[in-house]
């Protein structure tokens, strides 16, 4: 009885007066149980905009995302303005089909943000990874809306210096290197709590 009532209440056109929007967000398992335990729904929120603040390239940011990208099957992944060449043989070693990947050459900041919004909104990609240093509140909000519209996850790699800036992203995390382990400090988790996770990659 309660179960059928619950399923009725889940109907998307039903709005409940407690103010919570009735869209249960789907979560993509991150592949790391320590991290999944800290994320609401047990994984990366989807669709969403995620901000990863990194001290430098190579800290482990791609390894962190690879299980999620693998989870997405044959859907397209876009890499916009990547710092180096995404190396196809390594992707194959990680069981990611490189032909799923769309890459751009180095871009100017505005062009990267423009391309990211287009890619998120198009609905063609499951994940859009962009490397941008500066992004205003307005732009980030646009990206968030675009990710919702295009049903995909947008990951923005920014410098650790942006930590104090406000951001509308669903999830913000600071990545760091700590004695051979990756530390993930979740500084903003929408409908969740901030926490710090350390794990070996």
């Amino acid at each position: 009885m309660t179960q059928s009532l619950e399923s009725l209440l889940q109907h998307p056109s039903l709005w409940r007066a407690n103010g919570q929007p009735n869209t249960r967000r789907f979560a993509v398992p991150s592949g790391y149980s320590a991290l999944d335990a800290r994320l609401p729904g047990g994984g990366w929120p989807f669709p969403s905009l995620v901000e990863l603040l990194i001290p430098e390239v190579g800290v482990g940011e791609l390894n962190l995302l690879i299980p999620m990208l693998r989870e997405m099957g044959q859907r397209t992944i876009a890499l916009l303005n990547p710092p180096f060449i995404p190396y196809a043989p390594a992707l194959e070693e990680h069981r990611l089909d490189p032909t799923r990947v769309v890459v751009t050459t180095p871009l100017a900041r505005l062009e990267t943000l423009w391309a990211m919004e287009q890619a998120l909104r198009s609905g063609a990609c499951a994940a859009v990874l962009g490397w941008v240093e500066q992004a205003g509140m307005q732009t980030l909000r646009r990206l968030k809306l675009a990710a919702n519209e295009g049903n995909c996850i947008g990951v923005l790699f920014r410098s650790i210096r942006c930590r104090t800036q406000p951001s509308p992203a669903h999830l913000r995390a600071v990545l760091g290197m700590d004695g051979g382990e990756l530390s993930i400090e979740l500084i903003k988790v929408q409908s969740g709590r901030s926490a710090t996770v350390r794990m070996a990659l």
Partner: protein, 538 residues
Amino acid sequence: MPKPAKSDVRTLALFPADPALPAQPSVRELPVELPRRKPVAPLAPALQQPPGSAHAQPGKGQLWLAIHLSRLALESGLETRPRDPLGEQTLLEKIAAWCHRFTPVVSLEPPDELLLEVKGSLRLFGGASALVESVAAGLRTRGIEASLALTPTPRSAVWLARSRGVRRIEASGQIEHPVVERAEDLARYLQPLPLPVLRWPEEIVQRLVSMGVRTTGGLLRLPRAGLARRIGPHCVIELDQALGRHAEARRRFRAPERFDERVSLECEIESIDRVTRAMESVLHRLQRFLRVREAAIAALMLRLEHRAGPPTLVRLGLAAPTSDVAHLHSLLREKLSKLELRSPVNALRLRSSALLASIAANARLPCALPRQVPGASGGFESFPLPAANALPRLIERLQARLGRAGVFGIGSLDDHRPERAWRATAFDGVSRSFSPPGPAKVFAALGETFAGGTRPLWLLPDPEPIFGGVADPRSEATPSAGQAWQIESGPERIESGWWDGSDLMRDYFVARSPRGIRSWVYRDRRAPRRWYLHGLFG
């Protein structure tokens, strides 16, 4: 060619009904007379006896001009190129489209001929010879070598044009194009033609040669029934078609339709923004044009005409044909936003590529249900798959702004050298299809136990030298103190490429940078044995 006999007219035969021939009265029952030297109206009676057949007077009142494109360069061995059937067809269609200025009835005879029915155009162009001359002159100015022939039947015209092509090669003199306006004269012109001109199957030609027949004239002198039995009725019908005794249906060539509209603006426009707005109404008409024809286009050319100076051309090539004008509009807008106007625009012209058939995508019903919100349990299967054209569109849009080379795909190659083990693949609609790839291939077969890779996820485009060296804490021999780079595993020796000049001899290691980044470094085994950073494991 055999010398003509004394008699003027020789009656060949009265054909008996032949079971091998299709039941066509005009073929079976007509007496055939072949003129030898001076024709005394020999064919006319035959043609005037229509025994109640639909093909009663085949080709009457028609004049066909055949254009045979010569392959002089190819055949004389001056230049050899592999044949390009598609290119030949395109060339033929281009010439056919050009030929529409002489007559509306143009027919293709692939691979290298086309036919024009010009009876109705004779007066306009001042007679048959003048018409042939103007076609020939037009082709010459376009750099096309061709031989022409004008006769009352299409097949004989083609044969004659071909034979002129052959003769031209032998004599390499000036061509004069045969013009035969009366059907009675046809046989006289056809007689000397050598058999290869007919382009019959090689074995039939061989058989005829072994029978002593070397020309069309010899062929026509043979008894008809026997000939049909020996070389097949089709060939006999072709002979009849050439002589105008049998009608030949020709498929008419129609030039592919395209959208082409020029709008002259009421006042000159100086800003790109307004050009975009002026374009809108034209695009709206393009939309209607495509919709009523159920067609799509693969390219669009926008030409901005200025008060002075050459026009500005904006070419839009699409990865996949589309009939969605809103999409074209957004792409054009991206293209135009990069443009700088040299001088004010006073007219614009929008021209599409040839139309392609399109299958309209399903539109949404006005009362469509809201999008299903996937539950947490559903996984990715509960999300709708992206539309098939979503990815090509995204790439077109990105390329419109970032340039064609700005967006690419990646793939791996079988090479031991790290720089050559990957490649960028272009998205140009040809080299890579946009069809969804098949099920995950090798990647699933490796199993879940696989953990990490031996190759870095980031590859540096150019290896960066590491100053100060790399320490190996695993061996006691090298002092590790004071050296920040620490080796974790290795070496992996890569020595390859001596055959193509870019050979390398390297020992690769996995190492930690001073700040703890897992990196892929190598030591060049050739002097001065320096260390380089080549990748990051990310």
